[in-house]
Symmetry: C2
Subunit: 370 residues, 2 copies
């Protein structure tokens, strides 16, 4: 198992016997995080909870100048302005980018957990994030930002740890998954599980479940973006003959196929397949209503926030815009001062990563008014 931990990532040890919601406890577990900007008291802290595959390195850092996954969004003078805020970004529990997950060593056996890792829930991710923040001496953050799966983690955090944040930015998030996105993720997991090299989680580096991971990632990419974006970018452009791989009848022929292949291959060997399964599964399982023993709407209305910004994208087919509208309405019903901003990005669910022109201004404005 290769290590995927960015150099600026630091660690907080979780308490021994950290309890998992669906059963089991973790011993010797830790959470990876990075901090950005100056620290001058808890009031000025922004907490970022991430999507499924992200690490704790959203932007270049004094200890790690490599660009992060939100490079254009976070830094001095950027929408999340590290001249003003101290920013903490947390790698989710269960991931493989610094926090303890299925690829970590089980201290009970000295071997990687693999499928012996306890069933993971979004609530566990939220609890571990809350512990991390408090271990860093922060009782209350000014704003918790969560995008995609991080939007779910943020809602779970707010529900289970009242008072941990004054304000909230929810980006392309949801109170739970709808059946189309469950179906897509179920298929992604199936592709990994059915790769013989996966071997019930006991894969080896030299027999990595490459085919399953490629298919899973391609299906992810196909649904993270939008049909319109691809039509504009690729149309029906074909690969030149020399760029076609293999001579077989069903090899890559269109630019869009090459794009999927290229981006999926970049992801290979950079993410633990078991971690992918656990995180993906936790997204399907999460339900803010169940989490609070109520309906999603009521659970949202119980969250005690001063202000919230809810952003979503019309072309998102995985976390469709009506789910962000649902979050906005539920928070508003509880008395939160909510701005709901639907955006016309063509990039679908992934727009928050790339369409900084649309996402940056409302985030900058919301934070500057805090």
């Amino acid at each position: 198992m290769r290590e995927f931990i960015p150099p600026a990532t630091r660690f907080v040890d979780l308490p021994d016997g950290f309890p998992m919601k669906r059963g089991g406890t973790l011993h010797g577990a830790r959470i990876g995080y990075e901090t950005y900007g100056r620290s001058n008291g808890a009031r000025d802290v922004i907490l970022i909870l991430t999507g499924l595959s992200a690490d704790a390195h959203p932007a270049s850092h004094p200890d790690d100048p490599s660009p992060g996954w939100w490079e254009a969004m976070l830094g001095p003078g950027k929408p999340i302005d590290t001249d003003r805020w101290q920013v903490i970004c947390i790698n989710s529990l269960g991931s493989c980018k610094g926090s303890t997950g299925p690829a970590s060593t089980d201290p009970g056996t000295g071997e990687p957990y693999r499928l012996d890792f306890p069933d993971l829930t979004v609530e566990d991710i939220a609890d571990a994030a809350a512990y991390t923040v408090r271990a860093l001496g922060i009782e209350r953050v000014d704003c918790v930002i969560g995008a995609s799966m991080g939007g779910m983690s943020a809602l779970a955090l707010l529900a289970r740890h009242p008072g941990i944040a004054r304000n909230h930015i929810n980006i392309s998030g949801a109170v739970h998954s709808l059946p189309f996105s469950i179906a897509i993720r179920s298929l992604q997991r199936e592709a990994i599980r059915c790769d013989p090299h996966w071997n019930q989680g006991r894969y080896h580096a030299e027999r990595y479940p490459q085919r399953g991971m490629l298919t899973a990632r391609k299906l992810g990419i196909a649904t993270y973006r939008s049909a319109q974006e691809w039509e504009d970018r690729f149309g029906r452009a074909r690969l030149s003959t020399e760029r076609r791989t293999g001579k077989e009848l069903f090899g890559l022929e269109f630019e869009v196929e090459s794009y999927l292949e290229f981006h999926a291959r970049r992801f290979l060997h950079e993410f633990d397949p078991n971690s992918y399964l656990y995180l993906s599964h936790s997204i399907d399982q999460f339900d803010l209503g169940e989490c609070c023993g109520s309906t999603p709407r009521e659970a949202l209305s119980w969250l005690r926030l001063e202000k919230a910004l809810v952003l979503g994208v019309e072309t998102d087919i995985l976390f469709p815009l009506k789910q962000q509208q649902q979050i906005a309405e539920g928070l508003r019903a509880g008395g939160t001062d909510v701005q709901f901003v639907p955006l016309e990005s063509p990039q679908g669910h992934d727009a928050f990563l790339v369409d900084i022109d649309r996402f940056g201004p409302p985030i900058a404005k919301f934070l500057s008014s805090s």
Copy 2:
């Protein structure tokens, strides 16, 4: 290789040395078809060209009382009224439901063609259909109906065989595939090709590429329908404990996952994986503009039709509604009297198979005015 040919399917032999557009010829090939209703001259004939996986048995038949894939649409007194029309439904060249395809025996070797079948195009399917119609003594049909891939085959037929039909009904069709649907089909083919049991097409019945076919079919089902339909049908309903398959962490848990599994398993062993690859690939390759050495719009305007009905569905993500609008506008530009009817079916691309309440009336009305 099991046979999948419905009992009422009859055959027309293609001429020996049938030329394929991308090279190669077929020897001893045949086309499977079924006929419905009375025959009283060519003026009263309706020709049906089908989607990827359909056979030539759209409805119950005196020689085969089993229900067909368009049972509610076709028959005495139904929208396609066999009391009035003689209907011919053709199984596509390259399929495995009666027409010659990769599972058929290559007379040159005495073995199944498998991947030695020549590259298949929608144009070949159209040419074989035209030959079949004429071999049955029909110079001109009153109306050619094509749905999904059949909508492409119908356009190719009209372009390559001017005068073969007076009128046309195009249902959820397109002049070519857009990159999102190419990506989805490319992934389906990849799932089959990467199943070790597929074995470069040389699979055996006892080592059938079941996993690849299941994944391919599930991905098909996931995109043939719409997110809204699934939300209405399944929501987040979970399977009862006794219906969960296996006890493993990532087994089926939601109703939507069980639905995919059930319908994909029904498809298993009923379709030749190689045939699936060839037909799927031909959909991606087809381009009516290329087919005519022009643009799609100009190619459409060249089609000589009296009337056309173009139907599509707002929730279709594979052949989106704007593609049917494109067909309608192109035909209209050429002087065809076109009705374009967008439908609000929640069932996505597959709506024409199940939402007969919406599809039946415009089809019945169009045909009754012919």
